[in-house]
């Protein structure tokens, strides 16, 4: 009697376990089936392209008539050319990275701010939302390219800058005069570097607004997913909205800040109006395609390092609300 019971006891879990495994396997199989398009594409198209691109940077390329390209392995020479021989690359790179460091906090903070505003109940919220998301759809690719070399806009808005000093008179429609800001700050005797940074940011406001559309959407989604009951209990306890923002909204939205920071880095890094990318594209078209690939990979490695560092720092401060 006891024996059979024990046997049953040992048999039953075994049987159950085997069944679980088979279901798992079945599920795994359908999982593979769902991601199959990506797997195939990655294996036969993407991976060869990426590997080929990396491999090219270790070679010198010569176009031979009727045979296509002739590759000769030259080791790290292309990288040496990019880093030590080309006069402009390192300068452009450091300039671009500095711009990245300034732009990213500006974009993330701006988009969070606007998302909080657009999340509040008010008259015309739908209209404002529609306007704010226009750049996501319209100010990309071709339009951004056209805008980049645009003289009409500058002429019309008279923001051709204080450096040239030409268009100051026609500033009837100017948004904000950067000369005023410089004046304000120079009276406060802060460093000229800070003044320059802030002036740049203000002059760049159109650019920043244009680039923070998707981030705004992501923040808005995050704000919507915060339980209203938390806010309710907060206001019952007598918290002001300032306190509510820093004690509730900010911690709850902090995972989004990480996502958005990474997205912003990647987006500005892959966008065509990025100065480094422009430089690389020009180099591709004019001088040497292999060296430009080497440059692009150097840039890529640096940006990935930045993403890694930023996400390591930020994820230490992130608050995750466990939902399960």
């Amino acid at each position: 009697m006891n024996n059979t019971k024990a046997a049953l006891k040992t048999a039953a879990p075994k049987q159950k376990k085997r069944k679980v495994v088979s279901l798992d396997r079945k599920k795994a199989r359908s999982g593979w089936l769902f991601v199959l398009p990506f797997v195939i594409g990655f294996a036969i198209i993407y991976l060869p392209i990426v590997l080929d691109s990396i491999w090219l940077t270790f070679n010198s390329v010569r176009t031979v008539r009727q045979q296509g390209l002739q590759l000769t392995f030259i080791g790290l020479d292309n990288y040496k050319t990019a880093l030590f021989e080309d006069a402009n690359f390192v300068q452009t790179l450091t300039g671009g990275l500095r711009q990245l460091v300034i732009d990213i906090p500006a974009i993330v903070i701006f988009s969070l701010f606007i998302a909080v505003l657009l999340n509040q109940k008010m008259v015309g919220r739908a209209a404002f939302r529609a306007i704010f998301f226009i750049p996501v759809i319209l100010a990309t690719g071709l339009i951004a390219e056209i805008d980049a070399g645009n003289t009409v806009n500058q002429y019309m808005s008279g923001t051709s800058g204080i450096e040239t000093g030409e268009n100051i008179e026609s500033s009837a429609s100017q948004i904000i005069s950067s000369a005023d800001i410089s004046m304000l700050f120079s009276n406060m005797s802060v460093g000229s570097g800070l003044v320059q940074t802030i002036t740049d940011l203000v002059n760049d406001v159109y650019n920043i607004i244009n680039r923070s559309g998707v981030q705004m959407l992501i923040f808005l989604a995050g704000l919507q997913s915060i339980d209203p009951a938390i806010y309710e209990s907060c206001s019952i306890d007598g918290a002001t909205s300032w306190e509510t923002f820093w004690k509730i909204t900010f911690p709850m939205i902090s995972p989004m800040i990480l996502v958005n920071t990474i997205y912003t880095v990647i987006d500005s890094f892959t966008s065509a109006d990025n100065s480094v990318m422009n430089f690389i594209s020009n180099y591709y078209n004019t001088t040497s395609m292999v060296v430009s690939s080497a440059m692009a990979w150097i840039y890529f490695v640096i940006v990935v390092a930045i993403v890694a560092i930023v996400s390591a720092i930020l994820s230490a401060y992130i608050f995750y609300q466990r939902r399960d």
Binding site: G31, V136, G141, L142, L220
Partner: protein
């Protein structure tokens, strides 16, 4: 008992009539509107409104100037007194661009390309995102890392290899003599066709598809498993469940992604440029119409402004159809993202 505001005036068997001491209208008004809190709220609301209107102005202003300058005749650009409203409005710029740059042909071609790519990308990213969200199999984390990789390697970095891949297309080590059936030994030339872009879309590798897959995955993670489980119990298979239960659920999200895919393909200037998949004049696409028509003379003192205005007009013509799509879909944009709950 005297300071009790409630007075019981009459007491019958059934009814008790109670009279409250009412606060006067003035007192109510004072309490409601003359408090510091109300003042703060009002100031905040005004500030918020001004700020939002200001930023909207910054966003919309370039469009106004572009529209204004597109109607200007060449002489308006020399005239200093003309700021925003043209003195001698003309439709000539539009006319010449539409005729000389083959606008409608480009529109038609781009519409077809964007529609095909948009629909395929939406569906494929939906499928892949579902696979990543609901199934945990060996290597799924690594695969997702690959998705992230495709997102962060800029396509400019690999443009040359990508071009070569589709110029001499083969499928590498998976080729078992299939492609030799098509004749060419060096692989098939797919340049100047829509096939490279469609192929990238089918495999979820096109522009920003990593982002769509990520968004879809987050969305499906929030869909409760019980839905599928009950469908399975009712005897529905995996794919039927996906098609009949999951897809209808995710319509707002799919509209969002379609909007992104469609419009980013529409304004794309990388893949459709001459140095990528469409060299030469064989395919007329919208990215090619940004040029100055020969009949418009820009060779005069204010000419550079005029040529910039022409380019802007091209831009306006490009985004005009997109704006219509946006106005219809923008409601879904917020809705879809809201429901995705891309939280953590």
């Amino acid at each position: 008992m005297t300071d009790n505001p409630i007075k019981v005036t009459k007491e019958t068997k059934k009814k008790i009539r109670v009279e409250f001491e009412r606060t006067s209208a003035w007192k109510k008004f004072k309490l409601k509107y003359l408090s510091l809190n109300f003042l703060g709220m009002t100031i905040f609301k005004i500030f918020r409104l001004v700020l939002l209107i200001g930023i909207s102005y910054v966003i919309l202003y370039p469009f106004f100037t572009k529209i204004a300058s597109s109607f200007m005749s060449p002489t308006d650009f020399v005239d200093v007194t003309v700021m925003l409203i043209p003195k001698s409005p003309t439709l000539n710029t539009y006319k010449q661009i539409i005729i000389e740059n083959h606008y409608f042909q480009a529109l038609f071609n781009t519409l077809i390309l964007s529609l095909i790519c948009g629909v395929i990308q939406t569906f494929i990213c939906c499928v892949i995102g579902y696979g990543f969200a609901k199934y945990h199999f060996k290597g799924s984390k690594l695969l997702f890392l690959c998705v992230v990789l495709t997102m962060i390697v800029p396509h400019q970095t690999i443009r040359y290899s990508m071009f070569m891949k589709f110029r001499y297309f083969d499928i590498g080590y998976f080729d078992f003599g299939i492609l030799s059936l098509f004749g060419d030994k060096d692989g098939i030339n797919l340049i100047n066709t829509f096939i490279p872009l469609i192929m990238l879309s089918i495999f979820g590798l096109a522009f920003k598809n990593g982002l769509y897959i990520f968004m879809m995955r987050q969305f499906f993670k929030n869909v409760p498993d019980e839905l599928e489980e009950s469908a399975y119990i009712d005897g529905s298979g995996t794919f039927r469940t996906f098609m009949q239960i999951i897809l209808p659920l995710s319509v707002p999200m799919m509209v969002t992604i379609f909007l992104f895919a469609f419009s980013w393909q529409w304004t794309d200037n990388f893949y459709t440029s001459t140095s990528m998949f469409f060299p030469g004049k064989s395919q007329v696409l919208l990215s090619k119409i940004v040029s100055i028509p020969r009949t418009l003379d820009t060779n005069y003192p204010g000419g550079n402004l005029f040529s910039a205005a022409i380019r802007n007009t091209c831009g306006l013509l490009i985004i005009a159809p997109l704006l219509v799509v946006y106005l219809f879909c923008q409601k879904f944009l917020v809705q879809g993202i809201e429901r995705s709950g891309i939280t953590g």
